[in-house]
Symmetry: D2
Subunit: 136 residues, 4 copies
Amino acid sequence: MASSFRYSRRVQFAETDLAGIVHFSSMFRYMEEAEHAAWRAAGLSIAERGGALGWPRVSASFEFRNPLHFEDEFDVVVRLVEVGSRSLQYEHTILRGEVVIGSGRITTVCVQKVDGQMRAVGIPAGIIEKLKDVLR
Amino acid sequence: MASSFRYSRRVQFAETDLAGIVHFSSMFRYMEEAEHAAWRAAGLSIAERGGALGWPRVSASFEFRNPLHFEDEFDVVVRLVEVGSRSLQYEHTILRGEVVIGSGRITTVCVQKVDGQMRAVGIPAGIIEKLKDVLR
Amino acid sequence: MASSFRYSRRVQFAETDLAGIVHFSSMFRYMEEAEHAAWRAAGLSIAERGGALGWPRVSASFEFRNPLHFEDEFDVVVRLVEVGSRSLQYEHTILRGEVVIGSGRITTVCVQKVDGQMRAVGIPAGIIEKLKDVLR
Amino acid sequence: MASSFRYSRRVQFAETDLAGIVHFSSMFRYMEEAEHAAWRAAGLSIAERGGALGWPRVSASFEFRNPLHFEDEFDVVVRLVEVGSRSLQYEHTILRGEVVIGSGRITTVCVQKVDGQMRAVGIPAGIIEKLKDVLR
């Protein structure tokens, strides 16, 4: 039984807004960074150079509990909560120490580019196996 | 019965990513831009200079249906779907012509800064009235 | 003798930082937006879909004179100040009404993608002609 | 004689654009991140919470030599090249291993907020001393 994946980061100045806290849209970037770091930990890349597959998002959500401030150190804990034949759903919790900043979900679908159009395709079994080693 | 508010925009280069489409996190910025434009249309500002109130987000979600590309012209249609005593919920639909790019919701809470802390407070009646004129 | 090109915009919330003003890196995005708008006004696109040419930057600079704030309306005035065989240099002035926010320069080079590598190539004469109609 | 400061980072997906490389404006964010990390290494913060001082930029420039790609690991090497009574100038070199991605300069001025206006003030001696320990 593998555990979740933890990604650590510090808030950068450009990610804050005039309210003095991290702009809400940055949480979605933090979730994505953690997902991509989990892929690397699994020996994969979400965007292999010259690769044929892509992973556009079909849904993304976040519930905000506490603000993050400039220079705060925080963690994003990622879990793989649903594995479909063509899609993956991740659950993310953002924490500053013990304080929950918020949590969210991202669902992404595996696509292949055919004549400039994206077409959903089955996820290669090797990818799921490697991700499961790292993410649950 | 007032109608929804429509905000029009064009995709900028820096909003795309290596997949050749608009980065998913940009949709949340587009939703926010439309919300703030609706406030201006109502004679309001979400961040009055020197003002005491702030509007942090408590939840945000988006369902992606079709990609947006560089230089695409699109509309964000905003509706005010829930008015609480201290919170507002907006519903957003992003369209390129007749094509639905996706739709989402943002819930925001009215706060006052007291000693550097944000405290939820009742939404001034004047704000709700003006918003309703523009948003539903 | 054509004149300069003027691009108009409003400051968005996500472009500000905790200092309460527009983040300095946003000025570079504003300059680029104005450049791309000038291309559109000339009947061109800097990134034709399926096109072979690209325009990476070789240098970019900006001198900051006055801050921009949330919801400020501003103009970017672009001029084409140097036309090389393979490169273009633009000069940009950002103004809020009569107030100079700052000015900068961007030099960009025309490249073709060959086997995943970018190689500088001569600028097609048609592009320069059309740009000159709009930019000087 | 202290040395320069080195900040290490990896390219994130949202920092790329449709050309498949890091957007040029991101280099300015990378330079700033390195500068702020140097301040932390010196036991300082560029934006102390509740602090009176700010550090807006008066000029920023970058010369681009080679592109950065998604997931590239890179370093930003910062040097303090000029210390004025009210301003600091940094020089930054961005490297991927031995490959020079480019180099730039940022000049920043020390200000105090007085009645919502920023006024240039002398840099506290303690700050310069601490920065010099880390940056040259």
